[in-house]
Symmetry: C2
Subunit: 190 residues, 2 copies
DNA sequence: TGAAAAAATTGATCTATGGTAAGAAAAAAT
DNA sequence: ATTTTTTCTTACCATAGATCAATTTTTTCA
């Protein structure tokens, strides 16, 4: 069963601790195409994906969008600048499939940290790993060609790649859908 | 005086807490050009810059280097993937001026977290902000032209820009030094 | 199952940035 | 202060990826 138990796997929480957490989050169901967070809005929550797939993206002045992150089962997603600092969102988060998430508000998160310190450690560690992933992403963006980035994407997103439209992948890689198409043709040849 | 007191400003630590932390870090002096961390080495520490300026970079297969971060006074720096996960470093960190840092090993950090929980909260929050900064960097990389990235750099790195060589800035922006030079000429015209 | 909509591909150009090579300017060293 | 080394600039050409405009393929849904 996909539930809170699974989020904090490895933590060994007591029943009452589970209960405490459970009372402070909310399950949301999203149909395909639904917007979970809209740019400009206050970002009060962080989301844990139980099922489905979400995408966070930035819309630039020319109305082109740039995908920051895909999130499937067991991933967290939010506009982190906005969530941590209390600014309005610069990102939009949309569901690209029927998706179920657990919503944790910042307030709830802090209450949980204060009452169950090991959850704070858990989140710090999670954050550290995500931080490492972002570091890797920046290095890739700086040092790789579009083709290399695509191959890398296929590796790092093995399980989700099939659900995701190529134009979303292109937007994640920072190239146009036409360019991605040409890269795919190249790769298919050999 | 530049010291530990300043790192944890806002935390209100007792004298014995300071003492505890002080015993677990080490001051290092680096001359210009010195390497603090070399790629391939285990990354056991994170560094707090007291004075001077460091640069972390990735060297690709073609031996080109790509700057991930500059760090001056009151910034932290490390190879985070390596530091958190215990992998060998993929980044190299060099001093680009005479620099003084405080070194905190992972082991020391964890001891400090366990014995002074508010320091863990402090680090989690710091991490959250850095996470936001990385998010912003990725969005910029995806959505801006080289010229826009340069203008953005001048804004976000106001205080340090003057100490940094243009070829390091170019390497941070993901362009060649020639391209940066052309951009600068363009900007000077108007 | 067939029409409509969405997504992907292709070809023909265009453009921003890269690469190479040389020289100018600035900084460091003697 | 002069020389040497490092950094920055410029010019010319090359290229990866963008843009524009169809067209084909795939998916959706009535």
């Amino acid at each position: 069963m996909k539930s809170i138990a699974e989020i904090f796997k490895g933590l060994e929480l007591t029943d009452s601790e589970y209960q405490f957490i459970k009372e402070r989050c909310q399950k949301l169901e999203l149909s395909k195409g639904e917007i979970l967070l809209e740019k400009g809005q206050p970002t009060l929550s962080q989301y844990y994906v139980l099922e489905g797939c979400l995408r966070s993206f930035f819309e630039d002045a020319q109305e082109r969008d740039h995908t920051l992150q895909f999130a499937i089962h067991d991933w967290w997603i939010s506009d982190y600048t906005a969530f941590f600092d209390g600014n309005p969102a610069v990102l939009t988060i949309e569901s690209i499939q029927k998706t179920t998430v657990l919503e944790f508000t910042r307030k709830a998160q802090i209450e949980i940290f204060e009452s169950i310190p090991k959850v704070e450690s858990f989140f710090r560690e999670k954050m550290e790993h995500s931080f490492g992933a972002f570091q890797k992403r920046i290095i890739n963006d700086l040092s790789k060609t579009a083709k290399e980035k695509y191959l890398d994407f296929l590796q790092t997103h093995k399980e989700i790649e099939t659900h995701i439209k190529n134009y979303h992948i292109a937007s994640f890689l920072g190239i146009t859908t036409e360019s991605l198409s040409r890269i795919r043709r190249e790769l298919a040849k050999h």
